[in-house]
Symmetry: C2
Subunit: 452 residues, 2 copies
């Protein structure tokens, strides 16, 4: 083990030594018991991340992009760049040698002992939504760095290479991981991100180069396993009083943009029975979508999140409303069924209100299922750590859904206080974050021994 420590230190370079005061001293120099594998397993069993350090990083990160209305680190914004610089510094402090790949992702590889082994990939993102919180993304990103650091500090080298990744622009559409999976089209590159920059411009701004993105593409089957720790962003774990969510997969998602055209007219002079009120039609549709979704048992969700009214004046009957519906479920069949239901509702309500509904799709992503073996590893890790847990789908999208194209994928959830996310009130307790990072650590160790 000592020797492996030295090899590992050599690979990391001398600069890492100063940053790792505990290195080489924290574990017994040798063991009289059993072979290397048994010794490793026994030593691994007691490994724990440094929760205080991890939560300290998160607390320090809270100032980056903080505004009076929440965290604003939208991809390619100055605050995103600042967040990435902060993160690169954490990599370097932790003895990892990060590079920016052509897609703009931050990646560091810790070599494994087996020359032919495929990598284990861990990570998350540090960009945020508009007016978001400090936990969605950074928890999993910093925990991945902490896991790599814990392994190194404890001289625990994996058989498989370990890629520690912070994906770029997750919130705008999992761009970083989609580049790895080869799922970003030329047209996508010209889309305008929330920051006002195109994806093409944004990738360049953060140190990538879209002309070279073919180089980041990985083939299906090329990843030994992908693991991502994340806050739940819902209230199921907290309500159930459980510590860990073993994620079964990421729901499929379809975004509709629906244009309802009526006729703008005077709000005082037009009798109620002579109106073609686009807002009334939009309201009936919003209520009907909600009722349809709730009528059927299951975990499917639908949300009317964006509504733009024209002319949007107190004394004019709205002539046009453009609204969005965000539809999600773990079963693709459910998404198809509700698509038909919504289109039918649009026809009926259009007819009843003298308006026309036109449906367009902004986004369409299929459900991404976790690998049952990875779920078992995560569940085993939680059990061995004495942490209560349940299996559950992820209602939110994650880079894990793209990585599912490249190899066995799994995710670990920790409770979100009040189920609140994408909000300045997003919060997870430090103890839960430490628990999640320890489950990630032990799931990685287990994956290193399994999945082949």
């Amino acid at each position: 083990m000592q020797r492996r420590d030295f090899v590992h230190q050599a690979l990391l370079g001398g600069a890492a030594l100063a940053a790792w005061p505990r290195l080489g001293g924290s574990l017994p120099g040798g063991s009289p018991l059993g072979g290397r594998h048994a010794r490793d397993a026994a030593a691994s069993q007691s490994l724990r991340v440094n929760g205080q350090r991890l939560n300290g990083w998160l607390a320090a990160f809270d100032r980056v992009g903080r505004t009076p209305t929440g965290i604003n680190r939208v991809a390619y914004s100055p605050a995103d760049l600042e967040g990435r610089a902060f993160t690169l510094d954490l990599y370097r402090q932790s003895g990892l040698a990060p590079r920016i790949d052509a897609a703009g992702n931050i990646v560091a590889r810790v070599p494994g002992t087996r020359a032919d082994a495929k990598p284990i990939v861990i990570g998350s993102h540090v960009d945020s939504v508009t007016d978001g919180g400090n936990f969605d993304g950074p928890v999993g990103s910093f925990a991945a760095i902490e896991v790599a650091r814990t392994l190194a500090e404890n001289g625990r080298r994996l058989a498989h290479p370990l890629d520690v990744v912070v994906w770029q622009n997750e919130e705008g559409g999992t761009y970083g991981s989609r580049f790895w999976a080869g799922l970003v089209s030329e047209a996508d590159l010209d889309k305008v991100a929330r920051s006002g920059k195109t994806i093409r411009e944004g990738v360049g701004l953060i140190g990538g180069d879209v002309a070279q993105v073919a180089s980041v593409r990985r083939q299906p089957g090329s990843v030994h396993g992908y693991l991502e720790l994340h806050i739940e962003q819902g209230g199921l774990l907290e309500k159930a009083g459980l510590k860990i969510g073993v994620v079964q997969g990421i729901v499929g998602l379809r975004w509709f943009e629906i244009t309802i055209t009526g006729f703008a007219n005077h709000a005082g002079a037009t009798p109620m029975d002579q109106r073609q009120d686009a807002m009334l039609a939009a309201a009936r549709f919003t209520v009907a979508v909600n009722e349809a979704i709730r009528r059927v048992p299951g975990r499917q969700v639908a949300t009317v999140g964006r509504v733009n009214v024209t002319p949007n004046t107190t004394n004019v009957i709205p002539g046009q409303v453009v609204l969005t519906v965000d539809l999600r479920d773990i079963e693709q069949r459910t998404i198809e069924q509700f698509t038909q239901t919504f289109e039918q509702l649009g026809r009926e309500i259009g007819e009843a209100t003298g308006t026309q509904f036109r449906f367009a799709r902004l986004t369409d992503s299929k459900p991404a299922l976790a690998d049952p073996r990875v779920m078992d590893l995560v569940q085993g890790a939680a059990t061995s750590l004495g942490l209560t847990h349940q299996r559950m789908p992820s209602g939110a999208g994650h880079d894990a859904q793209e990585m599912a194209h490249l190899g066995p994928m799994g995710m670990i959830f920790i409770p979100s206080v009040g189920g609140i996310s994408h909000s300045p009130r997003e919060f997870s307790h430090a103890a839960d974050i430490t628990n999640g990072a320890n489950v990630l650590l032990h799931a990685v160790l287990a994956a290193d021994r399994a999945l082949d």
Copy 2:
């Protein structure tokens, strides 16, 4: 009569002569028949406005504030200033000497023959809503100018002074006429108009001065009569195949601004039964308001015209919605009853959706009834011109409602094609506009002889 013509020309100043080629030549220099009153009445009977000229002005005005989405001459905008300059030019072309009063209204007085007589006031407005049409306001404004011009060209001087007024910022809340009635508060002055300017700034911008507005205030009973020609803005006249609406009054109006506060959360990760969706609450409320209004027989109307959603993002459950309700009826009692109904609906829907409704009132104006004598004069004028007519309320607000505080008020409606108004498709036929101006002319002549 000749002498009266000369007196009138002298009052108007020499500059007016060139503009009035027909002046002094279109009527017989004297008459062998009867006294002056009988001669005037006989000459008046055959008077007609120059409909071609009036409709020519409207056609030329159509380019002012024209945008791809409609006429945009919202008060205090550059296009409003341009519209006012155009209108001032019409006054001057027509031999009227316009001035801007301290409230920003354009006013020209044609003196009467009786020194102690109270003025007859005629006019309308030239500002528009966002994305409106060219007829709501300009028809009545330009017809008032044309009526004064016709009287002068035909040497027909009234006993009463004639004030030709173009009110400022009608669409934003009948500000010009409310200043005359003393109904604008200090707080109103700081309200922000659609142009982004406060009323205070706007009045200054168009040549008024809020520090001097006390000077424009008129006392109740100080106006001999107010008459306003306007397009109907509804479809009742067209449906009935009638030419003239004799307006019975202007409905009362109450504008609510309702803030619905829920909780913004992740659209994917938040189960349907754990949401506090402000948009769902807004939609239910919009539907419920519509159903409540339609359930009760009557002409009351209610409109949700403005809806602003926060954060207005596809994948976030809306945390807040601010919407407006525009409620109108000719009976104040009905407005009070529906106010209670709406507040009750807000409480019920708030409770059912986990949201809170907060009601504020933006505008509150009581029904303003036309004077029965003025209605008779308008009806008599229509009858004498051979124009079919009906009595009807005005569902839209007008400056006439403020002028009803100062003296007997009446309005004349002409058909709106398709009942369309506050829309780029707003249209009235030239023949109907000429008819309306002739009714205005003859109602003014009749009012000059009556109402004392």
